[in-house]
Symmetry: C2
DNA sequence: GGATGTGAAGTAGTTCACAGCC
DNA sequence: GGCTGTGAACTACTTCACATCC
């Protein structure tokens, strides 16, 4: 489990959120047979400045070549290392409504290192059916061992499911329910809330703003948080 | 369309992402008949410090009462005003695969002010069927007039759909495809990328970190961004 | 020549600490 | 007494500008 290894020093939160973007860009170029890219090109595609790209990448060590830019395959690999893609993660998805299905069926969702091991649901109508190559299990069955839990359940069930997952040894939760979760110290929870994303967009619409304003007016670098309990 | 009005001064990006959380908390308490809340309580439920809550709310004017906290109904209302919930938004969703359905069927997704006006898809098998009270139209039909467009299409189709929406007068896009969009200046784009959220979580899992560390170890305040083109 | 990597400067956001008001 | 609202300090992040190296 804990495989600390000689990882790079701690990266900043904004950097962490941008690295996956750079990696995807590098992989895209690599797939097209291009194996050189510079910080200006990455920045344009990612919607950030070239300086920011260089700072972010400098945090992973000296990956680039002065005068020539970055090697796309080295870049992809080193970012993967920094994000922990070389480790192995067993992922459990709880709740196979439309959102759960969307994730399970998405080619993009599970990246290298992450492997779906089980699906759970409470609805007898879907228990036993097969989705994305996995038979949906009852939430009342014992949980399999896993590292990451993804919650795609209603807010009212989120805490109970969270407790089940934590009890089964899950240390990281991706929570799509608009509900703050209580977890033991040492458990990471990351919240994604669609409604909040829409509200952020609406604010920018009203105010004609967005952090960036050059040619492409992105509403980049926004965030997500959590929600209320009960109600 | 443009209804600028006497809006509050510009709010910071992190503040904007937290206000919807505070609002939901206030509404939850209000629904339970409680009409007073203080910054410490909000902070605990939202996973931020009381000071941050007060700073954020101070940006909307003096909403609170010294010694007594905030009135939950006033709070909810004023946050709604700041985020533009008093205005009206016509929302179009393109792509009614699992993700599109999840959004359309979610009670939480559309908040006050936002109204779903049409669904589009390219798949003949779903065109003409009814989802969430709306008949799915063909992407080849002319687009209805709308303010906000939600893209739930594959990355390869995202730019084309984006162009259609922008051509039809849409000024704000919520993009779930892992694809950076080119839009005219003045159009807001907000990106949500599930795979990136998972990668951020995995980083925190490996590093035992998370911006906050008190009792609840949230991986709060993370972000989203975009992706590569082509591939 | 050209692009990286980085000290230094600048900007934005958070936290402290307390004055002000109920 | 208690909690808001805010100047001041602090911390974090970004941008500038340039020395460094291929």
């Amino acid at each position: 489990m804990a495989t600390p290894r000689l990882r790079t020093r701690k990266l900043s939160e904004p950097t962490i959120s941008r690295l996956p973007v750079y990696q995807r860009i590098a992989e895209g170029w690599l797939a097209r047979g291009i194996n050189r890219i510079d910080s200006k090109q990455i920045g344009e595609l990612a919607g950030v400045t070239a300086t920011t790209v260089r700072r972010d990448l400098a945090g992973l060590g000296s990956l680039g070549t002065r005068g020539a830019g970055y090697d796309t395959s080295v870049l992809s690999e080193r970012i993967g290392d920094a994000l922990g893609h070389d480790l192995h993660y067993d992922v459990v998805v709880v709740g196979v409504g439309n959102l759960g299905r969307a994730l399970v069926n998405s080619a993009h969702f599970l990246i290298r290192g992450a492997q779906l091991v089980a699906l759970y649901d409470a609805d007898p109508a879907v228990i036993g059916t097969e989705i994305g190559g996995h038979v949906v299990r009852s939430i009342n069955e014992p949980m399999v061992n896993a590292t990451v839990g993804v919650l795609c359940v209603p807010a009212s069930d989120a805490q109970a499911v969270c407790d089940l997952l934590v009890g089964a040894g899950v240390h990281a939760l991706l929570n799509f329910a608009p509900q703050v979760l209580n977890v033991p110290l040492g458990t990471a929870v990351h919240y994604v809330d669609f409604s909040i994303e829409l509200q952020i967009l609406m604010y920018h619409l009203n105010n004609g703003t967005g952090p960036l304003g050059g040619g492409v007016l992105h509403s980049l670098g926004i965030a997500r948080v959590n929600a209320t309990r009960g109600a």
